[in-house]
């Protein structure tokens, strides 16, 4: 075995959301240190929200993240509503499900086609795809567009959706446009089944015993349910914070978390591991052979799980749109103007928790827990195991560096991390 010293520095990891660096230190052929550094500059939303009209906070925190803005908007709206005793109507809940599904379709598609697929094809970018696989670019754009158009129909826009508000939606769905959207969703179904098959046949494997945590919802709609873990815990959404502990990561603008003292993974893989029985019946029928893979401890099955979630999001959206007539409604009213409350939803990358304190209609404090921050400790431990394994193969230094960069980037991408989000956390006191 070579006893090499090697410092691997990956600066600005590409094909993820936001900016992250990774430093790996190897001494005498052994891994000494992994530093995963979230380099996204903090924008101090927690502080800025204080004193704002509580109804305006959701549109502000939407700006935490471009790609999953709908998750921040929806999660924060839920926290405001729970704090002030606002009960959204049945129709509002259906519209919220559609809004979240529209995000899942386009956000997962962006990750799978543009971030992950190039590693599978051995190319740098999907834009460099060889001519015989050019259909993949068209598939990617068609699936994303169907999600984007569903966002526009229900919530006005895919990024920073204007119609979704505290207590309800500010505009009703344009019924004349529904058939076209339904057709578009049905048309991409075969494309998504092809995508599922591609990821089911991917031979990437990385396993390390860990704990999976997700909000388990009765119709797999990402919004209301109980938080469960693969080691058998079951808790209410509002109590989630009590089970989390912040882990400070040196040199990083984000902090990590553990759940009841253990590192854990949130996201599509956790959801499928804990809740596949509640997927839409059409999804279960057509993806049956792929669903047999879950529960899975292979981190790369997070990609397969996302692809299956796209199918579910299509199937449930089509059912909601076909079975319901949407009417104009006025927003639900608050029962009080002061209080403390919290809510959790499943964002594309995992459980997103918002807690608020409101006084006379104004935000007094805001705290949030972001999926990527929850995955950071798990991700770091996975990277350590991969690098230790590669060191033990005795590959020469140059080859080892190349392999580490490729394998580690590939693994981190499988988590679909979002660094823009991860840099937003509670307060950390420096020094």
């Amino acid at each position: 075995m070579h006893k090499c010293n090697l410092d691997v520095e990956i600066s600005k990891l590409s094909k993820i959301e936001g900016h992250a660096d990774l430093d790996i230190k190897i001494r005498d052929g052994k891994l000494e240190e992994v530093n995963l550094k979230v380099m996204e500059n903090v924008r101090f939303f927690n502080q800025a929200a204080v004193g704002m009209n509580a109804n305006a906070v959701p549109q502000l925190v939407s700006r935490i993240c471009g790609t999953c803005s709908i998750a921040h908007l929806t999660g924060c709206i839920e926290a405001v509503e729970k704090t002030l005793g606002i009960l959204p109507s049945e129709q509002t809940m259906l519209l919220r499900k559609l809004t979240v599904y529209s995000m899942m379709i386009r956000d997962h598609a962006l990750h799978l086609y543009f971030f992950v697929m190039p590693d599978m094809l051995g190319i740098d970018s999907l834009l460099d795809v060889p001519d015989d696989k050019h259909d993949l670019i068209h598939d990617a754009l068609a699936v994303k567009e169907a999600g984007n158009n569903l966002s526009e129909l229900v919530a006005g826009r895919a990024v920073h959706a204007p119609f979704e508000q505290v207590g309800g939606f500010s505009r009703e769905i344009d019924a004349a446009k529904v058939p076209e959207i339904v057709t578009q969703l049905k048309n991409i179904r075969p494309t998504v089944l092809k995508l599922i098959d591609i990821f089911a046949n991917c031979d990437w494997k990385f396993e390390r015993k860990t704990n999976f945590v997700a909000l388990v919802t009765p119709d797999f709609s990402f919004l209301e349910g109980k938080i469960k873990s693969s080691d058998g815990k079951e808790i209410e959404e509002k109590d989630y914070w009590d089970h989390l502990h912040q882990v400070v990561l040196p040199y990083s603008q984000a902090a990590g978390f553990d759940f009841d003292g253990k590192e854990y993974m949130v996201g599509a893989l956790a959801r499928l591991n804990l809740n596949k029985k509640n997927l839409h019946k059409s999804t279960k029928r057509d993806a049956a052979k792929y669903l047999a893979k879950f529960p899975s401890e292979n981190v790369y099955d997070n990609n397969l799980a996302q692809a299956i979630e796209i199918l579910h999001s299509i199937d449930h959206s089509v059912e909601i749109l076909e079975k319901n007539k949407f009417v104009k409604e006025s927003p639900a009213k608050p029962a009080k103007l002061s209080g403390k409350g919290a809510g959790a939803i499943e964002a594309p990358r995992g459980t997103l928790y918002y807690a608020l304190e409101i006084e006379e209609g104004k935000a007094k404090s805001l705290k949030l827990v972001i999926p990527t921050a929850q995955n950071l400790v798990n991700m770091k431990k996975d990277v350590e195991q991969i690098v230790s394994g590669l060191c033990a193969t005795g590959t020469d230094k140059e080859e080892l560096e190349k392999k580490i960069i490729f394998e580690v980037s590939k693994l981190i991408r499988a988590y679909d991390p979002c660094m823009s989000c991860a840099s937003h956390f509670l307060r950390v006191r420096w020094k």
Binding site: K12, S14, K15, E17, G18, H19, E40, N41, V42, R43, F44, F45, Q47, A48, V50, L60, R63, I64, C65, G66, T67, S69, R106, L110, F114, F115, P118, D124, S125, L126, L127, D128, I137, L141, A142, K144, E145, N148, R157, A158, V159, H160, Q253, S409, S420, R427, V428, R429, W430, K431
Partner: protein, 155 residues
């Protein structure tokens, strides 16, 4: 392979939520195939790792100049591009990163350790406060029609 007749385009994100980049990937749904006949995308970390940002014809920049690193980056982009376009409200107005510019003493006290540790500038800046900007695209995120209108002028 570099193609001389195509415009070299780079897409950059400073401090922000990258919502304009995401919106741009949605605008791509209909427009990308046509635009690729006229442009070569040489820098866009969201979709590619191999990056080169010398001799750019068009740089699209989203986000705010909030740290010394951001300032170095925007100066480097400016030096290497013919046209620099500020994309979205962050780049145009410095908000919401610039929320901190108006913080009171109590709020500033809470964040001062972080500002110092990560080399933040005293104030968060819009792009035009740091370098010369040739054009701007409004919206949070960018408005599709405005983007197409401005971008195609230079393509």
């Amino acid at each position: 392979m570099p193609e001389k007749s195509k415009k070299r385009v780079g897409i950059f994100s400073l401090t922000c939520d990258e919502g304009c980049s995401i919106m741009l990937t949605e605008i791509f749904n209909k427009k990308l195939v046509g635009w690729l006949e006229k442009m070569e995308l040489v820098y866009f970390l969201a979709v590619k790792n191999h990056t080169d940002f010398h001799n750019l014809d068009i740089a699209l920049v989203e986000g705010v100049v909030t740290s010394k690193k951001d300032r170095e980056m925007i100066e480097k982009i400016r030096k290497n591009t013919k046209v620099l376009i500020a994309m979205g409200m962050c780049a145009m107005t410095a908000l919401p990163s610039g929320q901190r510019n108006n913080f009171n003493i109590g709020q500033l006290k809470e964040i001062e350790g972080h500002l110092e540790k990560y080399d933040f500038l005293p104030k968060a800046l819009a792009l035009k406060e740091a370098v010369k900007v040739d054009d701007e695209i409004m919206g949070c995120p960018i408005d599709e029609e405005k983007f197409v209108g401005v971008f195609e002028k230079y393509l």
